[in-house]
Symmetry: C2
Subunit: 154 residues, 2 copies
């Protein structure tokens, strides 16, 4: 099997493809950013993001369907619906923070507001990086792709 065919199979079963099928549409990341910033209601998302109502409706439904957000009607005001991050949704935080840090560094050129800090020390979080298990940050040159079969060898 030559390179192209091999990679085609590799790519089809890759976690990135899988993730993108769920959160890869336009607005999905921005809705999640809103969720991490404390938004819960349709009208809040609509007015802060400026997204079209039908698209917002569609995206929220999709995120709920994939259990990234939960959807619960407010019992004290039955008009309102609260969308909340599930554990699955909360685990997207590293993706969002990594994306944000990259955007700050390479696109907007300045730090965003508000800043994410350690609640206790009030110090900003570190730059997201690829690391060894013992926490050492690795550059591309220190990394390699190996087949899973070659991994079990040791």
């Amino acid at each position: 099997m030559h390179k192209a065919e091999h990679l085609k199979e590799v790519f089809a079963e890759c976690g990135i493809s899988a993730a993108l099928e769920v959160v890869g549409e336009r607005w999905s990341f921005l809705i999640l950013r809103g969720a991490f910033n404390g938004l819960h209601h349709f009208e809040e998302y609509q007015s802060t993001l400026g997204i079209a109502r039908n698209i917002l409706s569609n995206r929220l439904a999709r995120l709920v369907e994939h259990e990234i957000l939960s959807r619960e009607p407010d019992p004290s005001d039955r008009r309102r619906v609260a969308y909340r991050l599930t554990d699955k949704g909360r685990e997207l935080l590293p993706v969002l923070i990594a994306l944000r840090q990259w955007g700050e560094r390479w696109v907007s050129g300045m730090p965003s507001n508000p800043v994410l800090v350690d609640r206790l020390t009030r110090r900003p979080v570190a730059k997201i990086a690829v690391r060894t298990e013992d926490g050492r940050s690795l550059t591309l040159g220190e990394l390699a792709w190996v087949d899973r079969s070659e991994l079990a060898e040791g």
Copy 2:
């Protein structure tokens, strides 16, 4: 200023919006994944990803325009063009790996192949996480958003 208006301003200048304007279109992340996996040529991307040729052409041009990929004609075969990651592009690796790990854990449910390892130890990289400067991993409950102005206080 009430919450919605405030967040609208916050969001407009956020690194996530900035990043998404550059790499937020469909296929962009998958093209970058290909780049990190050693693809360099138009036909390689086209055949491995199965993307439409006009869209691929458009995306590559856009990534080059934003200096995420460089575009250099091969001097030894003037038909061929090589696309390569720039430093700016290489720094998207944490985003891609975080997305991949999330997709493996929560969507596809299994580890992808190949595995990214420390070149020297051959051990897989750690899970991407939000951490303190000294490397301790932080959960959402241990984090807080604070205004930049409140940060300079100490």
